[in-house]
Symmetry: D2
Subunit: 286 residues, 4 copies
């Protein structure tokens, strides 16, 4: 089960790399076509040779500048990756909630989790990632606004790009590193996960029961009603789901006591987990 | 304790109303100054009279159109209010988590919380509010982009405003209604709140203990270390905080057994709650 | 006529100041209510006294932090002002176009307008203002995203605000200064304005003519058709509008030669300009 | 010269198509992995078969939903294309300015350009495209905010996507069609382009002159000063650039009268235009 975070992590990182590679390629464009893009003073050949030496493609058509759509794409790509890191970090913050406690950021003894409350272990790295993702997200809009420039004479994008291109690049690099070390050092509590599952008193198996009933020919609508009425008692009266079902006449008419017990098995939910892992890793060497 | 949500709610709504009133005033502006704002064919008096009859202020200077900064302010104001509703809804989603369970959206028997899982009571209204807030937030940017128009001849804002002005107004109205009925019907579980507090085995009182020690002359740094070492044992070894402290020689040298027990009182945290309520409601009739 | 830019400028700046004053007031809020906002360790009185000494209002309700809607409002206000400066700068860029030439940024002899083209005087300050406005605009979104935090324990806004609060404040201060000196030093060419007006060969008076005809009892629809057919010839065949109208039988049936000539007067468009100036300045000492 | 707009147009459209194809591929993903993505009730094979029949790839890892980064990418792609159309439309608005007049939207006789001014031919389609691009741009942010969802249980993106996915798709389709017919019917005025070039009294050749001087061994710094001092006189005293240079002793010491005249040739700027066209069209059948 501990593989899970790593797995998602790796698959995501492969996508990040592919997205970054594509974005890098998009901006690997050069131009030496003169002040209005007409090659008035230099031959296109010069542009081709210089760009080749720099590992750049010549922009097919340029003006005083390279068209800004490629930089917009670069900034949007950084924003998408930052938003995915935001998602990881957000989930770690959830797991680290005292009431959930399923995983937490590594915490070393000397460290202070909170200046006012010595017992606290706050997910400070995760919160930082979430915050910085907002900045990278917003910067993508600057990239988009920079696209609509005036014919051959407009460098209004310049002042804006001097802020957002380095800021977004550095900030994404920073949170990628933070997210990597965060996941590497993530403390996972499988026992707490199990305890949280059990805390629902069997309710998490309701979907499974619904299926068992429909397989006996009960309409989905009717089965839903039967299952829901017991489920609501579990929430409202703090009863045990499995026991309530064993006492439900409608259900027992169609499912034996053993069949009901058979529904309450975690194995059903776990049986395809390895297939998911295989799908993610198989034939995809990093 | 049940007053808490209502209170925050009311204070927030008062601010919403004040913000909306101000935003409404900002856009209550009219102009009949002709095609380029020069009053070439009509006297300024006509503008003043017509505007007065419509309950509008005449725009001091206009072109073919009224300057768009006021509509930007209107859309930003809607976005700020939507973001505050987003915050309320987000917190309800947290409270309704199975592991937290401190409050939840009203749920009626016939209702289905999830098509696949009959036991579920998902915070569907809260999630909807969070989603729609994102749309209203983004629309504010359209308002900001609309400000920089070309001198007396630019109606590029027109096509954009036909989308965002009604959309943001209607969407905010919708989520304000949803949020109101959501809070009106909110099911609050004080017992669960207390249980969640107790689940920390006394750790939530660590700040209180820190204070008690510093009041005895211990440096904050040293006190922090003493408190933290026991706190960490509670997390890692599942022990009881209060008992660990009673056995801690450093701490017992400065605090009596009674003084330690005195720290573990919720009353300390609740003693100023009524003052907060008073601050929010006093002298502020709705 | 030279007053025009200054006037718009002053009126706008008065609004900027008022907006900034209000935004400043919105964020002039403090809290010393403890780690979760309950005044567990300090009395509310302390908060009131400290805030008063700092010129701040105590936040009526706070958690670990002050609610972020006020900072969102601050950042949106900066974005609205930046967008208005964007508008000014955009119009100067238009005026400075070679084909328009009605106004331009101050240019000193030693200065280089373009490294490749010694004759150029590019509106570099205006372009810079437009670009930076995009950054300030996007930052407002970070402010809006920061509002929806998790109950009493979320400082994800912190990393984001460390970037956008100083960046937007400094950037707006910078472009306000740039815009001020830009308008102070603006070189205005009234002769070129007049030449541009005349370049339409009288077409700008078409609205006036439409009015003169409708005042003679001609339906607006018919008058529009009569005026438009001559106007189109001016565009397409490079003829003189006034002369074409004098030869138009339909029009001459209702308007005398003198009445037609009377339409072609700039004075009609300028007669209310002083009223506009008065409206802007009267009774509004800076 | 008339090919120019078409050329840029075609190259841009090829890129648009490639971007859209890639974006479409990104969202062509499906999942039938159950309520929490574990394939509890159905085998992964079912997902693979159903997805294959629908022309979709199975999402490698899913929860209750498909991860939203692909929809963010889709919306960002639409925003980039809309911003490029914004650029086209913006430039047409410039060209159609009375003072520029180099190109304009098709205008049919019955059409009204402005209700108040019968002579007007406003670029209404271009303005509409610019406005709608702002909406599509802002919607991309909703896509980005939708990425950070809560582990297996969050459908807050749903209400937002019901607005922005159809709105952005339909709006981009609309402005793509509008832009296509706009460019198809664009009225181009080469004579006016030439006239605008000549209006600078030869100044546009200043870069060429700078080059001629440096090729004679004059330092760039010195050459710049010599060229600029004459150029400034053209601006400020309305003189002819070519004549001023012929009288400049410093310049004449290094360039013969014929060499100076040789600089003032448009051919130099046009000689590589066909190469640009070839680069854009060659080996790239649509």
């Amino acid at each position: 089960m501990g593989r899970s975070a790593k797995t998602l992590h790796s698959e995501a990182y492969r996508e990040f790399r592919e997205r970054l590679r594509r974005a890098r390629e998009t901006v690997a464009v050069g131009k030496i076509s003169g002040a209005v893009g007409t090659f008035a003073l230099l031959d296109p050949e010069v542009e081709e040779k210089v760009c080749a030496r720099l590992g750049l493609k010549p922009a097919p058509v340029s003006t005083q500048i390279i068209q800004r759509d490629c930089y917009a794409e670069y900034l949007c790509t950084l924003a998408i990756i930052a938003s995915s890191l935001d998602k990881f970090a957000l989930n770690i913050r959830h797991w680290q909630r005292t009431e959930v406690g399923e995983a937490q950021e590594r915490f070393t003894m000397g460290q202070k989790g909170s200046s006012a409350m010595p017992h606290k272990r706050n997910p400070i790295i995760s919160e930082r990632i979430c915050g910085i993702a907002r900045v990278i997200r917003a910067n993508s809009l600057v990239g988009l606004e920079n696209v609509a420039l005036w014919h051959e004479r407009d460098i209004s994008h310049s002042s804006a790009e001097r802020v957002v291109l380095p800021d977004s690049s550095i900030a994404l690099d920073y949170i990628l590193h933070k997210a990597t070390s965060l996941i590497d050092g993530l403390v996972v509590h499988p026992d707490r996960m199990l305890r949280n599952l059990q805390a629902t008193k069997g309710l998490v198996f309701s979907g499974q029961l619904l299926l068992a009933l429909t397989q006996k020919g009960i309409s989905r609508e009717t089965a839903y009603e039967w299952v829901q009425r017991s489920a609501m008692k579990v929430w409202d009266e703090n009863q045990n789901f499995q026991e309530l079902l064993q006492k439900d006449k409608d259900i027992r008419e169609h499912l034996s006591s053993e069949e009901i017990d058979g529904v309450f098995k975690l194995d059903t939910y776990l049986r395809n987990v390895d297939t998911i892992f295989d799908r993610v890793f198989e034939d995809k060497p990093q």
